[in-house]
Structures are given as structure tokens and as C-alpha cells.
Amino acid sequence: MIVADKKPLAEVLASIGKAGRVLVIGCDTCVAECAAGGRKEVALTASALRIALEKEGRRVEVREACLDRQCVNEFLPEAAEDMAWAERIVSLGCGAGVQALARFYPESDVVPGLNTQFIGTTVQPGVWVEECSGCGDCKLAFFGAVCPVTRCSKRLLNGPCGGSKGGKCEVSPEVDCAWQLIYDRLAALGLLARLREFVPPADWSASHSGRPRTIIREDRRI
């Protein structure tokens, strides 16, 4: 899912500025799973804002809401009343959710409450790891389902580099070396010979580097 984490409160307060009616609106899908933007986090953020604003001596009303999803228009009308009431809206959705909400309510001033980080998995409660960078040209079949584009700090396709030590990346001992993971996985599958083959340069035009992407499926358009 999309993994995000909370912005520092000071940034959110700065975004709220002089607004007197603030809506904190969350999303019950990805950001709820990564404990950043679901109902509990909406409650936390709203309480924190009320306390912080009262400390500043400001009279600000803070409302709370949560949508099933912020990234699909069908779920957005439900928030209409709160959106109209608020002077400023702090969305705890991911970057896509924030933008979808703002686009659906073009007269509302929507600001983000989270920093969207990556596409990843919950490896255990409280631990989320980046897995996919949406390169648009999935090579997982070649690498035993471990992505070197995302999980190697240098995106090597013919890795590892000389900095791999004890299964960890030179960048940080907290980061697994993707190429050790690839090596171990292919070794377990008896497919190590694959790593002898030259992997040619990637086609980045399929990735975000090419352009902001749109997918249209005519068979799905009403």
C-alpha cells in the first residue's frame, strides 16, 4: 500500500495559518494501515491542533472526519458539509488523496498533514518497508521477486556494488542490501545462473522520469 508518515505539527500549524474553522479529514485505506492517517490519527491530530492552538490563545474550531478512501471520487461527496464549513482542510490522505479531495472541492483550501513516502508492505506491525517505485517496467521476474530498482540504494541492475557488507547496504546498517536478498533468493531457487547475465540499461521513459502518467481503459469508461 501507500505508506506515509505524519508531518511535524509545526508544519501543519503553519499551513493552517489564521484559519478559524479547520477540518482534519483522514482516509481509511492505506494510511490507516500504516497508522498515519486513519480515524485514530485524525483524532490525535485534531486534539493536538486544538491543544496547540489554545496554547497560542487562538479560538479555532477543529472538526474531524474520515473517508473510506480519498483517492476515488465516489467516496468524496460524503464530506461535502464539512468541506463547505471549513476554512482550511488538513487532509491525512496520501498525496493522491489530498489532490483528489482538492480537485473535487476546488473552492476548498486543502493542505497535507502527511508526508507520503512510498509503495510498501507491512512486514510486521509497526514496520513498513519500501518495495516498489512504480518504474512502469516490472523486472521482478528476473530478480526472484526482489526489486533492485527500489530496494537497491543505487538502483543497480547488475549489482551488488562493493559496499555490500554482512547483507547490509553501505548507506545504513538498517538497510538490507537488495542484492544480498536477490542472491539468497535465487540461490534458494537454484537460479543463480541468472546473475551471470548482463542486464542492459533500463528504459526509464516508462517511469515517472518519462512524464506524469495516465492510464485509460476505454472498456471501463461509462
Binding site: 543505487k154 547488475n158 551488488p160 556494488c161 562493493g162 555490500s164 544480498q180 542472491y183 548482463f198 533500463a202
Partner: protein, 307 residues
């Protein structure tokens, strides 16, 4: 554009080659490059110029290589893929050839988080093996996409190898990949762990790789016990055995630099006797003044001339 590589010539003639390294300054004054050159002129066969090593911004390797050339030294242009995409890399490769630079060492480069521009985007459009492939393809007259070049460059291509990194079992396969992609000479990470290095070169011999490429063993003389400890603990991809630390620690602080040089010379002598080794690459960054002494003590002076 008919300049040939002296380094390639020395190696082809069967001499034990000696290469050294030069780190450009963090400033616009070419003076430091010229000073390093002064120590190394006539002492070694070629001088590597590093490319923003450890992601610290320095005078560019290309400019430094040209400065060295003008002073009569033969440069080895190091090129990392961290900072430039394939457009810039292929363009710079053409530029190098046009400036008479033949020796190119293709590297991925240390991650940008090590350097002084930590917010920089790490480009990594290509990796070191793809860069070798690109340079080799260009020497055959084409760019990566197949476009024909108006004039083909010539290169003596090199790559780095780290026998001490993980996964250990994979290191020789990676060496083979680099050679397949176009590497004709290899410079290894600096050697302190001799037994581990011996295993690696033995495997390389078994795979026939020492017949396909010239392998130069890396040597970095230790200045002090503290430097040795630092390299053991803090530098990625380095293997410094305890015996090495103990040896230099066992000597009074004032004598440690001399001991470090003695140890470097011994390692070079050992390398000369190791089957499959074609030369030595002395990385004495910040200590270039000691290179002549090391080369002489190892019995590698004067450097042979090419007919």
C-alpha cells in the same frame, strides 16, 4: 586522436604495472593537482583521477585528467554513474577521447549520502557494468540506442573489483561480468587480508579471467594505527585483519608511518609473486609524496620505457 594508452602498452609488454591515484581539490585552483603530479611524474605508469569521490564535490576528474596530461602524465579517468545520466556519460566519453584520454575506469560511485550534497538526486541511470558496455559499444562506433558515431573513440577500459565485499561467493562472477562488458584492466580495493585476496585471485584464475584482463592489486599504505582502525570500522567494503592493526599498533606512534610503508612494500612484493597479478595500484591519497619511496623500495623503479 591517435594517442595510445601507455598503461595498456606496459601491461601488454608483460611488465608489472604501477598505477597511482590523485584526488582533486575542493576548489577551483589546479595547483594541488599539479603538486601531486610532480611527485608521481616518471614514478608510475599512470595516475587515476577520482570522480567526486565519496560524493564530495571536487574539481572534475575530466578537467584534472587534462591537467595531468598537459604535465606529461598519463591519466586514468574515473567515471561514476551516480551523478550523470547516459546522455551526459556518453557525451563525456566522447569528450575524453577528443582530449586524448584513453584510460577510463567505470564505477558506480559511492552513494550521495556519504558526501557533502546529501540532498542531491542520485542519478544511477546506468550502473558500472552498463557504463562499460556503453563505452565498449561506442568504441565499436555506436551509442547505446544504435546511433552511429561520426568518429569512433578508442578506450582502454577498466573497472574496480572488491574481493572483500559480500556476497563473497558472487565477487568473481561479478568480475567476469565486468570483463564481459568490456573491462580490460581491473584495480582492486586495497588489500590487507592476504588470504582472502588469494582465494579471490585463485578463483579468478580458475575462471580464466586473469587471461582476459589485467588485474592490479590495490595498496593503501597505513599512516597510523588510528587510520587502520578507522578503515576497519568506518569504511565500507574494507577488510583490515586484526594482525595488521596489531602490527602497526605495536610500534611507537612516531614510527607507525614508516611501519605502514614497510607493510605496503611487503604487500607489493607478495603481489608480484602471486600468479595472475599484472600490477599494483597505489592509493595514497594525501600521501602522494611517499609513492616514489614505495615504488623504489618494492624494486619497481625505474619504470620501463615503451619502444
Amino acid at each position: 586522436m591517435t594517442q595510445t594508452s601507455r598503461l595498456a602498452g606496459i601491461l601488454a609488454a608483460g611488465h608489472f604495472a604501477v598505477t597511482a591515484e590523485c584526488g582533486p581539490p575542493q576548489g577551483a585552483d589546479p595547483g594541488p593537482v599539479e603538486e601531486h603530479a610532480a611527485h608521481l611524474a616518471g614514478v608510475v605508469d599512470s595516475v587515476n583521477v577520482t570522480d567526486n569521490q565519496t560524493a564530495v564535490v571536487r574539481l572534475s576528474s575530466m578537467a584534472s585528467a587534462v591537467i595531468l596530461s598537459r604535465l606529461g602524465l598519463e591519466p586514468v579517468l574515473q567515471m561514476v554513474t551516480r551523478d550523470r545520466n547516459r546522455i551526459a556519460l556518453q557525451s563525456d566519453l566522447l569528450g575524453a577521447a577528443a582530449l586524448g584520454i584513453r584510460n577510463v575506469l567505470c564505477l558506480t560511485g559511492d552513494h550521495q549520502s556519504f558526501g557533502n550534497q546529501k540532498s542531491a538526486l542520485g542519478v544511477f541511470d546506468l550502473d558500472s557494468i552498463q557504463l562499460l558496455y556503453a563505452a565498449r559499444t561506442m568504441s565499436e562506433g555506436r551509442l547505446l540506442d544504435g546511433t552511429e558515431l561520426s568518429a569512433s573513440p578508442e578506450y582502454f577500459l577498466g573497472a574496480a573489483a572488491n574481493p572483500f565485499a559480500d556476497p563473497v561467493e558472487f565477487r568473481v562472477i561479478r568480475l567476469a561480468k565486468k570483463i564481459d562488458a568490456g573491462a580490460r584492466f581491473i584495480q582492486t580495493q586495497c588489500i590487507y587480508n592476504r588470504s582472502r585476496f588469494e582465494e579471490w585471485i585463485k578463483r579468478a584464475r580458475e575462471e580464466g579471467l586473469t587471461e582476459k584482463a589485467y588485474i592490479l592489486g590495490g595498496i593503501t599504505p597505513l599512516k597510523s594505527a588510528r587510520m587502520a582502525q578507522y578503515m576497519k570500522d568506518k569504511v565500507a567494503g574494507m577488510d583490515v585483519p586484526d594482525e595488521v592493526i596489531d602490527r602497526i599498533k605495536g610500534v611507537p606512534a612516531k614510527e607507525q608511518a614508516k611501519e605502514g610503508i614497510r607493510m605496503a612494500v611487503e604487500t607489493i612484493e607478495w603481489l608480484r609473486g602471486l600468479e595472475g597479478m599484472a600490477g599494483v595500484h597505489i592509493m595514497a591519497i594525501g600521501w602522494e609524496s611517499k609513492v616514489p619511496e614505495i615504488v623504489r623500495a618494492a624494486g619497481l623503479s625505474p619504470r620501463p620505457s615503451l619502444a
